[in-house]
């Protein structure tokens, strides 16, 4: 069902935890739907110096969180903004169709954390305003 990469990031998730004095924190999803991701960013000079996450969710939610943090760690804000859910899924060697929303959550969690940072620090991040945090209702996903 899951790729080896997914299983690896699920079993040994990178960057689990919290950042005490985070520059920005974002939380998306809700427990009712079975997944919540919280992302902590430490940003210095427009660069993501550190990133941590906490996730309640299925295997692919945890793996997506882990992979997403790896993909933006040490990158610039612009680079982090450019991270798409597809890129997360691809880096994990793919996710089952019903689980694609997990990668969407990961993308959103990063953007939510960046939004928090931009508000707290009065920084304008291009592209953030357009971003739509309303995820399409993944409960209506059917296979055919």
């Amino acid at each position: 069902m899951y790729s080896e990469k997914v299983m690896d990031h699920f079993t040994n998730p990178r960057n689990v935890g919290e950042i005490e004095d985070a520059s920005g924190i974002g939380e998306v999803g809700n427990a009712k739907c079975g997944d919540i991701m919280r992302m902590y960013l430490k940003i210095e000079d427009g660069k993501i110096e550190d990133v941590k996450f906490k996730t309640f969710g299925c295997g692919s939610a945890i793996a997506s969180s882990s992979m997403a943090t790896e993909l933006i760690k040490g990158k610039t804000i612009e680079e982090a903004m450019a991270l798409t859910n597809k890129a997360v899924a691809e880096a994990l060697d793919g996710l089952p169709p019903v689980k694609m929303h997990c990668s969407v959550l990961a993308e959103q969690a990063i953007k939510a954390a960046l939004l928090d940072y931009s508000k707290k620090h009065n920084v304008v991040i291009p592209g953030l305003d357009e971003f739509n945090f309303e995820e399409e209702d993944h409960h209506s996903v059917t296979e055919d």
Binding site: F56, G57, V98
Partner: protein, 392 residues
């Protein structure tokens, strides 16, 4: 991983060696079509009829009331659609519960789209229906009551005999999905007033893809699969001879020393339940504490999600399930757990460990040890738990 511990016996079971041995000749040597009149055909016919007797004996039914199908889902669909369509001149109302297997629920929903009305009875926090609710739901148009014998997720056993009596008194057909019960519980269709009963071979160490619908003599029912004259003209298709032979042997074996086996199973089950409750905080046992299937254990672990629990267990060599196996690809939490009143976020964190004849005390202890570690690890990762841990 040294060993593999299988604790998902409600999803499916291995075929017992004695069962497979009985089946084998019917693949390559005694391969005749039971409808054929030559000797090779008769040998298959005899084997099928023997299996029919084995099933009839266990259920206290007549052998002519046993019809072989391709499994529990077909039996459920046949019973419900067959009764509804054949008796629609008498009425269009069906009564069932909110915690049925999807094979029953989706069939009822299909009938709702086609002119039938369905009442879905509530259950209490233990998963039991209320007999007064049932009586109150009956109308003049009610033609069928379909209520499962024992629930596949939480193991709760319904008061089948009483339900049957209510149905019988009102002249309403009573079907029970006994897929989880057969092989584990004593069943007497006469004493329990059952008109139709579904069972499936692979739940009691028989093969997959073969089941039975018991239909009480005289019951008016349409066929689901029409065609050849097999199964007394009621269910067409060349008989799955090896499968049927296997089911017959498996059901016979399942009811040998049933009390003894159940005593052992219940001891294991209760050990597993109490050890989890003793060693892990924020857990909730789902289903009735005693009136449950002998091998069923179902817990919610708060603040974590079921699938990640399953994957983690798999990594340490333990097979279990969350929700029912059939819906493990789904994102919705179990309808059964919602029906017993759990909020969505807790229902997402359920784990079913279903024990079978091959499980041991050592395995139970190993699983609990591993569960303690896994739950702890996942909770530390959970954004819901830190608030709790901080005492908020």
């Amino acid at each position: 991983m040294e060993k593999y511990i299988y604790m998902d016996n409600s999803a499916t079971t291995p075929v017992r060696k004695e069962v497979l041995d009985e089946m084998l000749p019917y693949f390559t040597e005694k391969y005749g079509n039971p409808s054929s009149i030559y000797s090779l055909g008769s040998a298959s016919r005899v084997a099928v009829e023997k299996a029919r007797e084995q099933v009839a004996k266990v259920l206290n039914a007549d052998k002519n009331e046993i019809f072989f199908t391709a499994g529990g889902s077909e039996s459920d669909n046949w019973a419900i659609k067959g009764i509804a369509l054949k008796n629609k001149n008498k009425g269009n109302h069906i009564i069932t519960t909110k915690i049925e297997h999807h094979a029953v629920l989706h069939t009822c929903e299909y009938l709702e789209k086609n002119g039938f009305e369905v009442t879905y009875l509530d259950v209490d926090q233990d998963g039991l229906i209320n007999l007064d609710d049932l009586k109150n739901a009956i109308k003049d148009e009610t033609i069928l009551i379909t209520i499962m014998f024992a629930n596949n997720e939480i193991g709760t056993i319904q008061p089948i005999k009483e339900i049957g009596q209510i149905a019988r008194e009102r002249g309403i057909y009573f079907h029970t999905d006994a897929v989880q019960a057969v092989g584990n519980l004593k069943i007497d269709v006469k004493d329990m007033n059952i008109d139709l009963l579904s069972l499936s071979g692979h739940k009691f160490y028989g093969p997959k893809g073969v089941g039975v619908l018991y239909i009480k003599k005289g019951t008016k029912i349409d066929s689901l699969i029409a065609g050849g004259a097999q199964e007394r003209n009621k269910r067409a298709g060349t008989e799955n001879v090896p499968g049927i032979v296997g089911l017959g042997k498996a059901i016979e074996l399942a009811y040998e020393n049933l009390d003894e086996k159940n005593e052992k199973l219940i001891k294991l089950r209760d050990r597993l339940i109490s050890k989890i409750e003793e060693n892990i905080k924020y857990v909730r046992l789902n289903g009735h504490r005693t009136n449950r299937l002998p091998g069923n254990v179902n817990f919610c672990f708060e603040f974590i999600e079921g699938e990640s629990l399953l994957l983690s267990l798999d990594m340490v060599g333990v097979a279990a399930s969350s929700g029912s196996a059939c819906t493990s690809g789904s994102l919705d939490p179990s309808h059964v757990l919602l029906a017993i009143g759990l909020p969505h976020e807790i229902a997402h964190g359920s784990l079913r460990l279903s024990l079978g004849i091959y499980n041991t005390e050592e395995e139970v202890d190993y699983v609990v040890d591993k569960l303690v570690e896994i739950v702890d690890r996942l909770r530390k990762m959970s954004p819901l738990y830190d608030k709790i841990a901080e005492g908020k």
